[in-house]
């Protein structure tokens, strides 16, 4: 019990700290990976709350997601390395206020609401997995299927949005939209402080 309490506190602290780091650092890759570690700490938190399947799943999924996040940062930010140390925030005071207010409100709810009796023991991991499987393919199959369809739709929609608009008409060379490779190269270029010509004409 004590150990569980300690672990929950520790991993929760780690998650929050990394979450803060996400918005404190200048280097975009750092912030993406900080987000990753915050999510991983959450996975560990789930594990210490005996939700084994969820914990492992969280740890597995978030790694890929956040790495992709990182590469997008590198592609789309003007200063992914954070060498320029430029500030990329606005309406700071309002945001801080909103964050604090929501935090305090949530904590207040958490403290003052009477959560009723607390269950001591959770079913063991294998049993949990079996139950979850039966639940997914049994009572809440419809929800599960809907989630799957939703993901599929999102994939298709994202691809459709992201496809290069005029892929086949290479006639106007100078007004060709910026392609991902150029973005990657330019990200690299900015990162290294060198400048290689040849992409600038495009």
């Amino acid at each position: 019990m004590i150990a569980q309490m300690f672990f929950i506190g520790f991993f929760g602290l780690a998650a929050v700290w990394f979450g803060v780091v996400v918005f404190r650092t200048f280097s975009m890759v750092r912030s993406a990976l900080a987000l990753l570690f915050s999510q991983t700490a959450l996975g560990a938190l789930f594990l210490s709350m005996q939700a084994e399947f969820l914990g492992v799943l969280q740890i597995m999924m978030m790694a890929t997601e956040m790495s992709i996040m990182a590469i997008f940062m590198v592609m789309f930010m003007m200063d992914p390395g954070g060498l320029g140390e430029m500030d990329m925030t606005h309406q700071k005071r309002l945001s801080l206020g909103a964050g604090l207010v929501s935090f305090i409100a949530a904590v207040a709810v958490a403290v003052f609401v009477d959560w009723g009796p607390v269950a001591g023991v959770a079913p063991d991991a294998a049993q949990q997995t079996v139950d979850l499987g039966l639940e997914l393919l049994g009572r809440s199959m419809l929800i599960f299927e809907t989630a799957g369809i939703t993901i599929l739709t999102a994939m298709i929609a994202a691809t459709a949005v992201a496809i290069k608009p005029n892929a086949n008409s290479t006639s106007s060379h100078r007004r060709r939209p910026v392609s991902i490779n150029n973005a990657l190269d330019s990200g690299m270029r900015r990162n290294n402080g060198r400048s290689n010509r040849g992409h600038d004409e495009q």
């Binding site: 309406q91 909103a98 929501s102 409100a105």
Partner: protein, 604 residues
């Protein structure tokens, strides 16, 4: 009981494989059919050893889907497997030129597996599903050459006919399940009384649709638009057979009144479609019409209370009719058309093929010792033995005579006339399939006693029936050979050639009434329209009066209100910046306000 699963899954998996690989479809299709055939034979041997298999899959909560291998279903599934594999062998040759083999063989396999499911189904729900699958795949197959003119409409027509008749099956099944409280066919079979009569009639409707009984016989002839192997499969052992199989399986529960209705419908069908066949100008359409008439004979047998005879005739007819169709397909390839006028003398080109065709035709006419003889005699004997022998027997005999007549007509046309020989691609495969089927058609008669023992029933030997049947068949043959069909029909000719549209036909039964209703509706519409116009005029006058009063007074009020709204809107627009972060900030603040408001409302 993995044999059942194999019999169904083998074609299905092969279909999936074909669709995945998109390569060498013929080989895979033959493989699937062969495996399913082996499984079917295994089932049959089990049935001979008295082992009745059952495979129960988890289905609806308290109605599991089940596949059963009783002797009857085992025999049927073996039949389906044999016919389909031989037809597939033939199709390898027939489709040699076609560019879309993948689609063709995949659909055929889907069809076969659906039919196996239907035959082996042990409960109504699975049977319904298989029924629908058959309808779908037959639609796909009939419409296979969907680019050719008329094919699409033919496919759609066939689909709609069967569908509209399927309603009967649905209602019947729901009644049965609701009545017996279980979806198992065996348990539902011992319902009786009024429910049995009603469901029997409904099932009859479904069967009429699927096996093209009058007045729903029209679609079958149009369905000739599909490739020949398709029509061979459709007509012999699968689609059309489904109706008869349905009635044969439910025969134990049908009361006498329903049986009489069934018999009469079958009888009418066999005569009417027989006449149509006599008047036909196209070989395949002739065969199609004869199919309906043969199934009419089976219904007569069912109506006479001897489903066994119907089953035997179903089996014999399956082999015979498929071989006839395959022969017709060869002739079609050699002459490039199926019109009898073009086919004159096509038989002389290939005497061996014609010999096989003729054997099958004689078998259909019921000449001993070919298989048709025994089954037809069984039917005639059954009709003679039945309580209302007068009606049924006369129908059966008439059907036999007509059968002989149009078969002889077809043979006559094929034999007379000059020969124009032309080489055909893939003749080897085709004649292989044809030979196998003809052999079946010839020797199946020998297998009937064993089937009777398998089903623990026996047919009453009746010499009178044999004499009558034989004489009827011979008479029909002579008539058809020596007198051309048109003359034979006499005054009936025009009706027969338009498929007895007045005697039946979908159009008179549905289309004209629908049109009449539409016309009356249109009249009503017109009246309403005029009334509405009158009301409109009146209200227009009212409106003029009101506007005259409106212009004074009320407008001022309205306009001021409008101005106020517009200004409010302009103020609101400044709030809406289009910048994501500001929008989000507004959202958050708004949510917070909502929370506070609810809190206040709830607790203070």
């Amino acid at each position: 009981m993995n044999l059942i699963a194999t019999a169904i899954l083998a074609p299905l998996s092969m279909m999936v494989l074909i669709l995945l690989l998109r390569r060498l479809p013929a080989v895979l299709a033959l493989l699937g059919a062969a495996v399913s055939l082996i499984a079917g034979i295994g089932l049959l041997s089990n049935a001979f050893n008295g082992v009745a298999g059952e495979l129960i899959l988890p289905g609806l909560p308290d109605m599991p889907l089940r596949l059963v291998a009783t002797p009857l279903t085992a025999v049927l599934s073996t039949l389906v497997a044999i016919i389909s594999s031989l037809v597939l062998v033939y199709a390898v040759g027939y489709m040699k030129q076609d560019s879309e083999k993948v689609r063709f063989f995949a659909t055929m396999l889907l069809f076969v597996s659906a039919m196996q499911t239907l035959v082996l189904a042990g409960d109504w729900i699975l049977l319904l599903a298989a029924w629908e699958l058959i309808g779908l795949s037959s639609y796909l197959l009939i419409g296979f050459w969907y680019r050719r003119p008329g094919v699409r409409s033919a496919a759609t027509r066939a689909f709609l006919y069967t569908r509209s008749a399927d309603l009967g099956l649905y209602v019947a099944v729901f009644i049965l399940i609701a009545n017996a409280g279980s979806s198992d066919i065996a348990t539902t079979l011992n319902t009786s009384g009024g429910v049995a009569v009603a469901t029997g009639l409904l099932l009859l409707v479904a069967a009429m649709g699927k096996s093209a009984q009058t007045p729903l016989h029209d679609w079958l002839q149009r369905a000739m638009a599909g490739p020949t192997p398709v029509s061979a499969l459709l007509h012999s052992a699968t689609l059309v057979a489904a109706g008869a199989i349905l009635l044969i399986r439910t025969a134990p529960m049908l009361p006498s009144e329903t049986l009489l209705v069934i018999g009469i419908v079958g009888g009418i069908t066999t005569v009417v479609t027989g006449l149509i066949a006599l008047g036909e100008r196209d070989l395949k359409r002739l065969l199609a019409a004869s199919t309906s008439s043969q199934y009419g004979l089976m219904l007569v047998a069912v109506g006479a209370g001897v489903p066994l005879a119907a089953l035997l005739h179903l089996i014999a007819h399956a082999a015979i009719k498929s071989s006839l169709f395959l022969g017709a397909g060869v002739f079609q390839h050699s002459r490039g058309s199926t019109a009898l006028a073009d086919l004159e003398g096509a038989g002389r080109d290939r005497p061996r093929l014609f010999f096989g065709f003729a054997l099958a035709a004689l078998a259909l006419a019921g000449i001993p010792p070919l298989s048709g003889f025994f089954s037809k005699d069984a039917i005639i004997a059954a009709s003679l033995a039945s309580p209302n022998a007068l009606v049924l027997a006369s129908f059966a005999l008439a059907g036999t005579v007509l059968t002989g007549a149009y078969m002889a007509r077809a043979l006559h046309t094929l034999w007379r006339g000059e020969t124009r020989k032309r080489n055909i691609a893939g003749l080897g495969w085709m004649s292989a399939g044809l030979a196998g089927l003809v052999t079946l058609a010839v020797i199946l008669g020998a297998a009937f006693p064993s089937i009777e023992t398998l089903l623990h029933q026996s047919l009453s030997e009746n010499t009178l029936a044999q004499i009558l049947g034989l004489s009827a068949a011979l008479g029909g043959l002579t008539l058809g050979w020596f007198i051309p069909g048109q003359r034979l029909l006499g005054p009936l000719l025009p009706w027969a050639q338009q498929g007895f549209a007045i005697a039946g036909g979908f159009d008179t039964w549905v289309v004209h009434p629908a049109l009449a209703i539409a016309r009356s509706c249109e009249q009503l519409e017109r009246g309403l329209y005029n009334a509405a116009l009158a009301v409109g005029r009146f209200s227009l006058d009212m409106g003029r009066a009101v506007r005259w009063s409106d212009d004074r007074g009320i407008d001022g009020l309205i306009f001021s209100l409008v101005r106020g709204t517009v200004e409010l809107g302009n103020r609101a627009r400044t709030l809406q910046s289009g910048l994501i972060h500001r929008e989000m900030a507004i959202t958050v603040v708004g949510t917070a306000l909502i929370f506070v408001a609810t809190f206040v409302v709830l607790f203070i």
